[in-house]
């Protein structure tokens, strides 16, 4: 078992063991270590510490070496996806104050350039005396950007102390993992489940398998799980849902830990999927990015998995987190009553990135402690287990990405010259979430609209369907009656 308190850490320099497998090519730990130390040298030669370093995410060994090097030099890792619209990339670069940007793809097109960009394939191969910095708990380890309701991405800065707190929970998760284990990393790097999917293999000195960035991930994920006998995987349930028609053909006896996360975990799907992974411990990992990766966890029993409304129980808080459920008046509810789950503890971030308005909305003082409002409606049963029931606002998850429907409405309305728009979430035929845009009046040119939206929002936020209605119904307060639109456009069609 590695020392869980060492974060950041220096990766192993083992000449024998595989560290990474990318597109069926293996890279050993000594190779990763060498790339890591060269990147450390690049950072140190610039005398950078406590600075934001951008990293253009790509499926390459240098991406992973760079993340470890940014941390080991006590800097802040900011992932940037090259497929994002350039407005969004510009906003991330300027909000995070990125001066140095690493990339390992051939070229990267940016609107506003940061002060310096460095192609990692072209860097000096000078190596450093390897001593990791020991950043303060308050120093920021990474900043992730999520959908913001005002149309601008919202930065979630997670500190070294937050990550250390998260890692202190690992022993009680009961993982018996070693260098023989093989770990799946299926996540987009802007998604915080990628952080644990990267930390776990390198802490246990096992091998990390990446999933190539192509449009159809589920067949590739299945191939990796099967062909390479992956033993530890964190996956979003929507990927598993795509495999459902083929469950009869799937047998993964080498899977030891199957962790479902990033979305509500459907009970029926889990029961069926368990048969495909007969020797695996199944876990549900719950938590918003603001409470560092996951903070409420559940190891499922072999049979009779507790669930509410078809969603598997999320379990109990980690030892670093206090959970309370409150009502609309910010009073704690009685056990068994539903309300909003609020979170306190060292895993919870201090504040959003330069966004006092959002801080006021998302944090509250409760019994002289600062709590983060998850926005998730939950209840706790008589055994102390928490159950997730749904969202209290208009946030939805598409392929695990957190999306504010109001952000989609904002961009649509701007593109449609202030026509009114309601964005709704519905389920597609595999049971995964999709977005439907309801527009008041006619859409003059749908192709142009979609082209416009692609310049403003990432692909997973583009509605999969557009509908027109002549005029929106209003409620008693004169506001758009979303419930009635939801009922007529979605519920009545089922």
């Amino acid at each position: 078992m590695p020392s869980m308190f060492d974060f950041p850490f220096i990766p192993s320099n083992d000449r024998e063991a595989d560290a990474l497998c990318i597109e069926d090519k293996f890279y050993r730990y000594d190779f990763l270590f060498n790339r890591f130390s060269c990147i450390m040298h690049e950072i140190r030669s610039r005398e950078m510490q406590g600075k934001s370093i951008g990293l253009v995410a790509s499926d390459s060994y240098d991406t992973y070496a760079a993340i470890l090097a940014i941390w080991a030099t006590g800097n802040t890792y900011v992932p940037i996806n090259p497929y994002l619209p350039s407005d969004r990339i510009d906003s991330i670069i300027s909000q995070a104050g990125i001066e140095l940007l690493f990339y390992s793809i051939d070229e990267v097109s940016l609107g506003k350039e940061p002060k310096e960009t460095l192609q990692l394939g072209k860097m000096n191969t000078m190596c450093e005396d390897i001593i990791a910095k020991n950043p303060e708990d308050n120093d920021i380890a990474y900043i992730l950007f999520t959908s913001g309701s005002t149309g601008t991405p919202k930065g979630v800065p997670v500190s070294y102390g937050n990550v250390r707190s998260f890692l202190r929970n690992l022993p009680e998760m009961g993982y018996e993992l070693s260098s023989r284990d093989r770990f799946l990393q299926m996540f987009d790097l802007s998604f915080d489940l990628s952080i644990v999917s990267i930390l776990a293999p390198f802490l246990f000195k096992g091998c990390l398998f990446t999933v190539p960035n192509n449009n159809i991930k589920y067949t590739e994920i299945y191939r990796l799980l099967e062909e390479y006998e992956i033993s530890f995987a964190i996956v979003v349930p929507s990927v598993i849902a795509y495999l459902k028609p083929y469950f009869e053909d799937i047998d993964l006896p080498h899977m030891r830990y199957m962790c479902l996360s990033g979305e509500a975990v459907p009970y029926d799907l889990t029961v069926e999927w368990k048969k495909c992974c007969p020797n695996a411990v199944f876990q549900n990992l719950y938590g918003p990015s603001e409470a560092t990766i996951y903070c409420v966890t559940y190891t499922m029993p072999e049979e009779k998995i507790p669930a509410a409304n078809g969603i598997v129980c999320i379990g109990k808080a980690t030892k670093e987190i206090d959970c309370i459920i409150i009502d609309e008046n910010n009073k704690e509810v009685d056990q068994g009553e539903k309300g909003e789950l609020i979170l306190h503890g060292k895993q919870v971030i201090q504040s959003y990135l330069n966004n006092q308005e959002k801080d006021k909305e998302a944090f509250l003082e409760f019994e002289s402690k600062r709590y983060y409002r998850s926005g998730d409606i939950c209840y706790q049963d008589e055994n102390g287990l928490y159950f997730y029931l749904g969202r209290k606002d208009y946030q939805v998850k598409i392929q695990g990405f957190r999306i504010e429907l109001s952000e989609i409405e904002y961009h649509l309305s701007v593109s449609l010259n202030k026509q009114r728009v309601v964005a709704l979430a519905d389920l597609d035929k595999t049971g995964n979430a999709k977005i439907i845009a309801i527009v008041e009046g006619k859409i003059k040119d749908k192709d142009k609209l979609i082209a416009d939206l692609k310049k403003k929002m990432p692909y997973y936020m583009i509605p999969s369907e557009f509908r027109e209605i002549p005029s929106f119904p209003l409620n008693n307060n004169g506001k758009i009656d979303r419930k009635s639109i939801q009922k007529s456009q979605i519920d009545n069609e089922k």
């Binding site: 449009n215 159809i216 589920y218 067949t219 799937i250």
Partner: protein, 77 residues
């Protein structure tokens, strides 16, 4: 094979909502705008129905482009 190509092209045109879409043997999901996990699943189901065949998951995994798919359809007919 000609018949398989025309029928497959028509399936692609319907699923990806593009009446002028032409398919080539080298074409992959990265070449077609709306070809993602969901449309892939729909396209496979439609192909299975049109040709009266059934793909195994291991066969889907091995199909790297449209050419692989056309060959697999021909093999199964």
């Amino acid at each position: 094979m000609e018949d398989i190509i025309i029928k497959t092209r028509d399936i692609f045109r319907e699923i990806f909502n593009d009446s002028s879409l032409e398919i080539t043997r080298e074409m992959t999901a990265n070449d077609v705008d709306k070809w993602d996990s969901l449309t892939h699943l729909t396209m496979i189901a439609k192909t299975e129905a049109v040709f009266g065949i059934k793909f195994k998951l291991k066969e889907l995994v091995k199909m790297k482009n449209v050419g692989d798919m056309l060959d697999k359809i021909q093999e199964k007919l």
